[in-house]
Amino acid sequence: MAAADVQDFLQQNRAEAAEVEASRGYWESEKHWAARREFILRNKGDFRPDSQDQLLSLSMVWANNVFMGCRYSEELLQRVREMAEGIVVEDAPVFKTRDEIMKQQQGRRRSAAGAPTFSRRGADVQPQGRRRSAAGAPTFICCQNMDCF
């Protein structure tokens, strides 16, 4: 189902279109919503009317993963990726999650342990070879010692 098909579908099924539209988050941009809407429409048939919330939840899992950098269990991610197969998202942002940064930092620390001059401050978070998209992708860094309340 390509973007044009989605439009056709929505025009033919006004009632359903309105129902789906109601689940748009206020924060979702046109681009994000279009992708998630496609996700919902593609899989709507596979969920019973009383478990539509689960579909919405899965669509959010997928959107959060793609547009916000959230990670869920591998099992869950695998599932939403399969459900989203064929949806084209252009120029998706690239994220580094907190865990990835922490791991990288620790790796550096360990390999550097024993070296006489070694700066502990700050971490090189340049994601070597991880960058997939062009400019416009934000870079994220870890947080240490948060204020805790």
Partner: protein, 945 residues
């Protein structure tokens, strides 16, 4: 408020608002602790009526302290909390009301922040444990020694959230604590205690504000009540100003940066966890007598006097030739409003406004410029005039470009300076700062050659001087050119690569706010939308405008909507605030807060699910759950142009309230009785001791088992109004209050009583007026008057609350003791010098008054004659000390009559003169005195004005 820098900025700009607390410590005799008698006048020379505790600021440091080892179990935590409250009570000594407020369920607007804190805290906790285990193994492998791991449960600070068992226990413990103190501590005898635990919705500080607001809106309120609010959040300052009460003071822990912390692994100070080597513990003190004392001083408290801040603001905000009458109270409200732009708990701050860059000064400047055009104030009683706000925003927007560019420049030059500094330090470290050369050059011994005798030393010295001049010149040049053209000598022996390995890697910043096209890049990177998408931009601005209205209303009128929240992670630019006039009309009415357990589901990560019932927990982790998207295992953090990582933005998904409630509807029936109780909304409770005038009234309510809600008769309780309702499981006199903590005894002789309390109610749509109440007396000015003439009189800053504070003096015996222990001569008895020398001798050793005093007085006017007194003067120390104390207390009892205090001092002044004479006449050292004439009484003008 989420602006840690705000308080620092404020206290630097307005230093006189800070007053250090005087704390009387309990004494210990033969192992028996003697508590401080808090019925005595407050040693801070001020009397407070009401003390409000924002309990979360107490619970956090007591349960997981940063500067000392954590308590072993929950009981120890509770005791730590009790002790902390005792300390505060001792310092503040409230005479009427003690209000303890624990955070209840917060408005939805706060949920994003709570989520981000709890998700982060959960991850950090796990990481710390892992790191500890790893280091422990490493240290032990290297043969280091570590104390055996204590068996203590890892304390998940996330349990400090309403609805958990911990919070329920805490409420129980506090009830016990209050009953115990009311029954046993004389200082609490007449105090009305209000406890608002986590089952009452609302953030702690806002519950307190609600109480104050409602009390002052009713006619029996005493407009000169002196409030003291405890808490470290900067927004307490805003809240205090927003009350428009003339006497409002905030007490908080003094912030000391870089406080040493003990290592989490071995418990020793001086290194971090990462550097722990497992070295044997060093002996503390000669005989290890300080083994269990931390080498850090106890956390001290400071007062922040809002009446002084108001004085400062009067100077800053007063504007003349306005097209409308100037009203200071209204301009304070506008100032509070503008501070929200810089940051608050509910909205991300505008990218161009950074408190460290003087954003508030900039805003005030713009405000004063623009106010002529706006034709009035920005806000009234917590309602925003958007048209006028737009003018301010547009003015900020014009400067935005420059702000970003300047920020970059400052940043660069700061980095350059740091780099240069590092370079210089290195160069200095590698060799001595001065090395003599030529024949005088140092030579290593034992290398065969012997040092030659020096020839022609004069000429050599001349050469060295010339060389030195060169070096000085090159140093100057180096400093001027930023170190690039350092002289040949400066660079010698320096390794090039050293500086590179030291520089911190810069996080990549794709937004580059300082380059053209910043706006497009910002929207693209942060929101993933094109800059042409005006619709979307408008949506963000609209939400932000709503947010500003919501926050201000929250501070001045209470929570307008429990549902509203800001649904983005980033703020728009100031220049985007166009046509905002119609963006906000009114909030949805009759919204209800979440229930405690619902809120837990909204703010906890799946890793903290153990605080929830099994079936509820399941919703957080089961892939089939219909709200599984709220609980990511891991999430991205955006540094967002900040230097420090903890300032970054956690990108967490927002909670869909409808879906959350729908999912919970299925599991609600599975709650146990106990959980249902924790999930219900509770009530504030009022406690009193037996001697309180209201006691009999309440006791009577219980005796007659009145079921209806009863009003407090205002004449019985300092004009406090409220509605009373019998408690289901009350604390009653002659009924033992069981201790929830094994280590503490039950209150067998309970003489306190507890009853449910509700704030006075006002009809819907009531607007609380943000004005000074009639009859309120503004406290005397503290700041140096701007027109103060330098001629002759010296300005003496006021250090405490009391404008006529007694200066501290050291009596003669005290001087002697001090001199003795400092080893400064033996004092007069042990080493009496011949009379001729006496004067010089004494002058040489002078006195060692407290530095504070001497710096204030310049030269202490009467210390000198005092010191020169004869032996007979030995009695003075005592006499004066007693006199001082006596006086201080009298002054306190005369609160509000500063005249009286002054007179007493005058009186004392005279007595002092008499003493002098008596001392001169009575002592055996008559001979000494005669040579030096009389003892002039100190000029009163210098001391007291």
């Amino acid at each position: 408020m989420g602006v840690p820098a705000f308080f620092r900025w404020l206290s630097r700009k307005y230093p006189s608002i800070v007053v250090h607390c005087v704390e009387e410590k309990g004494k210990e005799y033969n192992g028996v602790r003697i508590p401080v008698d808090t019925t005595r006048p407050n040693p801070n020379e001020v009397e407070f009526d009401n003390l409000y505790l924002d309990m979360n600021g107490i619970i956090h440091p007591c349960t997981h302290p940063e500067d000392k080892p954590a308590p072993k179990n929950e009981d120890e935590m509770m005791v730590a909390i009790f002790e902390y409250i005792d300390r505060l009570f001792n310092i503040v000594r409230p005479r009427r009301v003690l209000y303890m407020a624990i955070d209840g369920v917060a408005p939805r607007a706060k949920m994003n922040q709570q989520r981000s804190r709890r998700f982060r805290a959960s991850k950090e906790g796990v990481e710390l444990t892992e790191e500890k285990n790893r280091m422990r193994e490493e240290v032990i492998q290297r043969g280091g020694y570590l104390p055996p791991e204590e068996v203590k449960e890892r304390f998940d600070s996330n349990c400090i959230t309403p609805g958990t068992e911990f919070m329920d226990n805490l409420a129980q413990c506090l009830r016990y604590y209050v009953a115990d103190r009311l029954s046993n501590d004389p200082g609490w005898k007449n105090v009305t205690v209000l406890l608002s635990d986590a089952s009452v919705p609302g953030e702690g500080e806002h519950k307190i504000m609600d109480y104050i607001r409602r009390q002052r809106a009713q006619p029996n309120h005493d407009p000169n009540t002196h409030h003291c609010l405890c808490g470290a959040d900067a927004d307490l300052i805003m809240l205090g100003l927003a009350t428009h009460e003339p006497n409002f003071t905030i007490i908080r822990e003094e912030f000391k940066p870089n406080k040493p912390r003990p290592c989490a692994l071995c418990g020793q100070m001086g290194h971090e966890l990462k550097e722990c080597t497992g070295a044997a513990r060093e002996k503390q003190g000669e005989h290890d007598e300080f083994a269990n004392t931390m080498p850090v001083s106890e956390q001290e408290f400071i007062f922040i006097r809002l009446c002084v801040l108001r004085e400062y603001l009067t100077r800053e905000l007063t504007m003349s030739s306005l097209p409308f009458p100037f009203d200071f109270e209204r301009s304070v409200d506008d100032w509070v409003f503008m501070c929200f732009f810089v940051g608050n708990d509910f909205l991300p701050h505008l990218p161009s406004l950074e408190i460290r860059e003087g954003a508030i000064d900039r805003l005030v400047g713009i405000y004063k410029d623009v106010v002529h055009k706006t034709g009035g104030y920005l806000t009234q009683n917590g309602f925003v005039n958007l048209e006028r706000v737009e003018l301010i925003m547009q003015a900020v927007g014009v400067a935005e470009d420059n702000i970003f560019r300047k920020r970059k420049d400052d940043d660069e030059s700061f980095k350059r300076r740091m780099k240069d500094k590092k370079k210089r330090m290195k160069a200095e470290q590698q060799r001595p700062s001065f090395l003599s050369s030529g024949q005088f050059a140092p030579q290593a011994l034992g290398r065969g050659g012997r040092p030659e005798p020096v020839h022609n030393a004069r000429h050599q010295a001349f050469n060295m001087r010339v060389q030195n001049m060169d070096a000085a010149q090159s140093l100057k040049a180096m400093m001027k050119n930023g170190g690039n053209s350092a002289g040949p000598s400066a660079d010698r022996g320096m390794k090039r690569k050293a500086e590179d390995s030291d520089s911190e890697p810069e996080p990549e910043d794709n937004v580059r706010l300082w380059e053209d096209g910043w706006k497009q890049r910002y929207y693209k990177t942060k929101f993933d939308v094109d800059a042409t998408d005006d619709e979307f931009k408008k949506k963000v601005v609209k939400s932000y405008v709503e947010g500003l209205c919501w926050v201000l209303r929250y501070y001045y009128q209470g929570c307008a909507s429990w549902k509203w929240y800001f649904p983005f992670h980033y703020a728009p630019f100031a220049s985007d605030f166009k046509d905002i006039k119609d963006m906000f009309t009114e909030f949805e009415t009759d919204t209800k807060p979440f229930k405690p357990l619902e809120q837990l589901m909204g703010v906890f990560p799946a890793a903290s699910g153990n605080f929830l019932p099994q079936t509820w927990r399941n919703l957080m982790s089961n892939p089939e759950s219909s709200i599984i998207d709220f609980y990511p295992d891991d999430f991205a953090i955006d540094l967002n142009g900040k230097k420090y990582a903890w300032q970054g933005v956690a990108l967490l998904p927002f909670v869909d309230e409808r879906r959350l409630r729908a999912a919970l509807a299925d599991v609600y029936p599975e709650l146990t009785q106990e959980e249902m109780k924790r999930n219900s909304l509770g009530s504030d409770v009022l406690f009193l001791g037996k001697s309180h005038p209201l006691f009999d009234f309440i006791h009577e309510l219980y005796r007659t088992e009145t079921t209806e809600v009863t009003d407090i008769p205002p004449e019985l309780c300092h004009g406090i109004l409220g509605k009373l309702n019998l408690d289901q499981n009350p604390i009653l006199p002659e009924k033992t209050v069981q201790s929830p903590i094994p280590a503490l005894r039950d209150v067998a002789q309970n003489s306190s009583i507890g009853v449910r309390f509700r704030d006075p109610e006002f009809p819907a749509g009531h607007v609380f007026k943000a004005v000074m109440l009639p009859g309120a007396k503004i406290p005397a000015n503290t700041l140096k008057p701007e027109d103060f003439q330098q001629s002759g009189r010296q300005w003496r800053p006021q250090l405490g609350f009391n404008p006529n504070r007694q200066q501290a003096h050291l009596g003669q015996s005290g001087q002697r003791a001090l001199n003795h222990s400092l080893g400064r001569g033996g004092g007069q008895y042990s080493n009496a010098p011949p009379p001729g020398n006496y004067q010089n001798y004494n002058r040489g050793q002078q006195h060692y008054p407290s530095p504070r005093q001497s710096s204030l007085l310049g030269e202490p006017p009467y210390q000198q004659p005092y010191q020169r007194q004869s032996y007979g003067g030995g009695a003075h120390g005592w006499g004066r000390a007693n006199q001082n104390q006596h006086n201080a207390y009298q002054q306190n009892s005369n609160r509000g009559h500063s005249q009286g205090g002054y007179q007493q001092q005058q009186q004392q002044q005279q007595q002092y003169g008499q003493y002098n004479q008596r001392g001169g006449g009575g002592g055996g050292g008559q001979g000494y005195n005669t040579g030096r004439g009389g003892y002039p009484a100190p000029p009163p003008s210098r001391r007291y004005n």
